[in-house]
């Protein structure tokens, strides 16, 4: 099985090796996420992987497609990883189950499986969870250095599967809103960015505490993918550029109400989104110029949603919105065929 998003732009690498490299590139960021937010992340990743493979197998069987080659191509695993990394570290098991099953069954297989889905499956699953279960989905953990509690793997699994906190610990003691969420709440109360950063321990020097490392390592993994030619530079550069331009402009305009560009680049899902989510070869634009528009669109929309929208982070919505626009962008950015006039 070979990838070719469009007949005229062909890549010779088989899907499985591409997906394997994506998973390798995710590893540093995953380790950092586990380091700061505990073993719950690992439990979520494993659970999502199992659910993704199971639902993929069931759907392939139901659709009468060969199961083994599609299951081994790793695309379902990448979807599971991306979704699980976006979930709150101690999200109840059924959150992961519903989100992953929706991503694979509805957003991927019902549209025709790998190569046919117009929306990024992981982000479709994430958005379904976010709008369906707002309470569970916004209950993030404080970094372990802040809360002072480190849950063991067994304890984290216990919280995820039973919902009960281990003895001697309440979940309120370890949970906190994400830095983006906290900032939004404070700004909503009319406070300045500086006051918000002083008031809450979840902020770090650049972005959120811990988040700057997580984003930094996803950035490193993304650069490695570029070096290995798994992805091209267009989408990440355009996405981060769009986010950077917007956040710099508004930060210079009013630094009290609009947080610094560094905070935007190193908080939430910025780097994960730029290098791993937006670059999904199936649902993104395929022409080089189209990728630039597509990436910039996601960056700008993410900023708009973060700054003025109802949700703390906007990567998922921005990606889905630009997925919708991708075919149109591709249509208008077809490269000139050699020897032909435009």
């Amino acid at each position: 099985m070979q990838t070719s998003s469009s007949p005229h732009l062909h890549s010779a690498a088989p899907v499985s090796s591409v997906m394997l490299r994506v998973i390798y590139a995710l590893i540093p960021g995953v380790i950092a996420t586990i380091w700061f937010f505990g073993w719950g992340v690992a439990v979520n990743v494993m659970l999502a992987a199992i659910v993704a493979l199971a639902s993929e197998a069931v759907m392939l069987a139901a659709r009468g497609r060969p199961i083994k080659p599609f299951l081994l191509d790793g695309s379902a695993l990448v979807t599971a990883f991306l979704l699980a990394l976006s979930l709150p570290p101690l999200a109840p098991w059924w959150i992961t189950l519903i989100g992953t099953a929706f991503a694979i069954v509805v957003a991927k297989q019902l549209y025709g499986g790998l190569g046919c889905n117009p929306f990024n499956p992981a982000m479709a699953g994430y958005v379904v969870l976010l709008i369906s279960f707002p309470r569970e989905m916004t209950q993030w953990l404080a970094p372990e250095t802040v809360s002072g509690h480190a849950l063991s793997f067994a304890q984290a699994a216990q919280v995820i599967f039973s919902g009960a906190a281990p003895p001697g610990l309440t979940l309120d003691a370890v949970s906190a809103a994400t830095p983006l969420d906290t900032l939004k709440t404070h700004l909503h109360l009319g406070e300045t960015v500086e006051a918000a950063r002083r008031a809450s321990p979840v902020f770090g020097s650049l972005g959120g505490l811990g988040w700057e490392w997580i984003n930094g390592l996803f950035l490193a993994g993304g650069l490695w993918m570029m070096y290995k030619k798994v992805i091209t530079w267009h989408i990440p550069v355009a996405l981060l550029g769009g986010l950077l331009v917007m956040s710099t402009a508004f930060h210079l305009f009013n630094g009290d109400a609009y947080v610094s560009p560094a905070f935007h680049l190193f908080s939430g899902a910025a780097m994960l989104g730029a290098f791993f989510i937006a670059t999904d070869p199936v649902s993104a634009c395929t022409t080089p110029r189209g990728k630039l528009y597509y990436g910039a669109g996601i960056g700008i929309l993410t900023y708009i949603i973060r700054a003025w929208g109802g949700y703390p982070d906007g990567i998922a919505f921005a990606v889905l919105l630009m997925n919708m626009a991708a075919p149109l962008i591709d249509h208008y950015t077809q490269p000139r065929v050699f020897g032909h006039k435009k």
């Binding site: 519903i98 509805v106 379904v128 709008i131 369906s132 279960f133 707002p134």
Partner: protein, 230 residues
């Protein structure tokens, strides 16, 4: 044009030409108010009544209306019927009327109604037109209730909540709780749930249809049956 047999009118309205699942008409109210069985039933009954009455009246006046002005006349008939139904609902089912709000007057613009007036009632006798209106309305109402049941059970874990809005005080405890302490699955209640739910129901109908087709293809058709279906 030969008269359509009643059996075909019933089959068309309920299944073969179901307004929601086959014609995909009148989706705006269908998607907007199908978030619970009772809301869906309320709108379904209002649509059913409108369709039956408007089809009857259009058929009664079909020989008096010249083709050039038929559409404005049909719209006036439909608007009058809907206004009467809306006022009646406001008087007798006030709470339900408040919940359904704008979607009751909007029945005027529902394409199923003008479509049946134009395609069927203006060309058929009163009895047939009334039957068609009733069956199309029933098909639409059943689709609404089915979608409402799907969304309410997934979204709230209940069925027939607030039944007293349609059936009076006696129905207050009709609510069936499917799952105790259900978390709620907001997606099913929100607009995306309506689209996904309708899509799944249409898919189920198509599966049933293709199953029936395969069955009848296996059985050797008798000559006169083959002629009748052609």
């Amino acid at each position: 044009m030969s008269a359509t047999p009643y059996g075909k009118i019933v089959h068309d309205g309920l299944w073969a030409n179901n307004p929601a699942f086959v014609q995909i008409l009148g989706l705006c109210p269908l998607l907007a108010v199908s978030n619970s069985v009772i809301n869906a039933l309320g709108l379904g009954l209002a649509t059913l009544l409108t369709l039956t009455l408007s089809n009857t009246i259009v058929s009664l006046i079909r020989n008096l209306v010249t083709p050039e002005i038929r559409l404005p006349v049909f719209v006036l008939v439909i608007a009058s019927v809907v206004t009467a139904i809306e006022l009646a609902m406001n008087a007798y089912l006030h709470e339900l009327h408040t919940i359904l709000g704008i979607f009751i007057p909007l029945i005027v613009t529902n394409c199923i109604i003008i479509a049946r007036a134009e395609a069927f009632a203006s060309k058929n006798t009163v009895a047939r037109a009334a039957t068609d209106g009733f069956m199309m309305g029933l098909g639409s109402a059943l689709a609404l209730v089915l979608l409402g049941a799907l969304r309410e059970s997934l979204g709230h874990g209940t069925l027939l909540a607030n039944a007293h809005l349609v059936f009076g005080e006696a129905a207050k405890d009709w609510t069936i709780t499917l799952v105790e302490h259900y978390h709620g699955f907001l997606l099913a209640i929100l607009p995306p749930g309506a689209f996904i739910g309708l899509g799944l129901l249409i898919a189920v109908k198509n599966v049933v249809d293709s199953h029936i087709e395969r069955r009848s293809a296996q059985a050797v058709p008798l000559p006169h049956e083959a002629g009748a279906t052609a």
